[in-house]
Symmetry: C2
Subunit: 105 residues, 2 copies
């Protein structure tokens, strides 16, 4: 149970917005839709995100199981992120957001 | 041009999230999808929203043209809200959020 959802455990909108309801999360899901990306690649694709925010948003997406990560035991360290099956279920939301956004540019 | 969008004026995700990227805005769009509602009805449908937040979110939705309002010159005052054509274009986003949320309850 997450904040904002405790009084409405069966509300799909509240649940979904808790999981993916930030600009950065939607942009991260969009960035990862075509496959694995390294941390540095994500940072380059979102030039307006701070490292602190990127780390925070990735951590939350990993914690709820929408994104998976693997840290390779290499020097320099290599960490890759990708969408889980649950994360891929969010892609229709991303698609509809892109359509709506294009209608309002 | 709105905050968070100024460096990426052609990004549909950033634009869309600026317009409808809050839990309350999505819940308000969903509440208004079946027709006009009075202010008090909106408040009843979202029992966890504060009046301050409801007024703020409605004001933003009206300002960007997704929601329209009309104040009837009556006593007691009657104010009704409804989705504009632009606001109805956001309903596919609401639908996809509901589907995703149900998959994750």
């Amino acid at each position: 149970m997450t904040p904002g959802q405790k009084d409405f455990p069966n509300c799909p909108v509240r649940k979904a917005m808790t999981l993916i309801g930030s600009k950065w999360k939607v942009l991260l899901l969009q960035s990862l839709r075509d496959g694995r990306l390294r941390y540095g690649e994500l940072l380059r694709r979102l030039p307006d995100i701070s490292e602190k925010m990127l780390i925070h948003e990735l951590k939350e997406l990993v914690a709820v199981g929408l994104v998976a990560k693997h840290a390779y035991p290499e020097i320099p360290p290599r960490v890759e992120y990708w969408l889980t099956e649950s994360g891929q279920q969010a892609l229709p939301v991303v698609d509809s957001i892109v359509v709506f956004g294009r209608q309002h540019l």
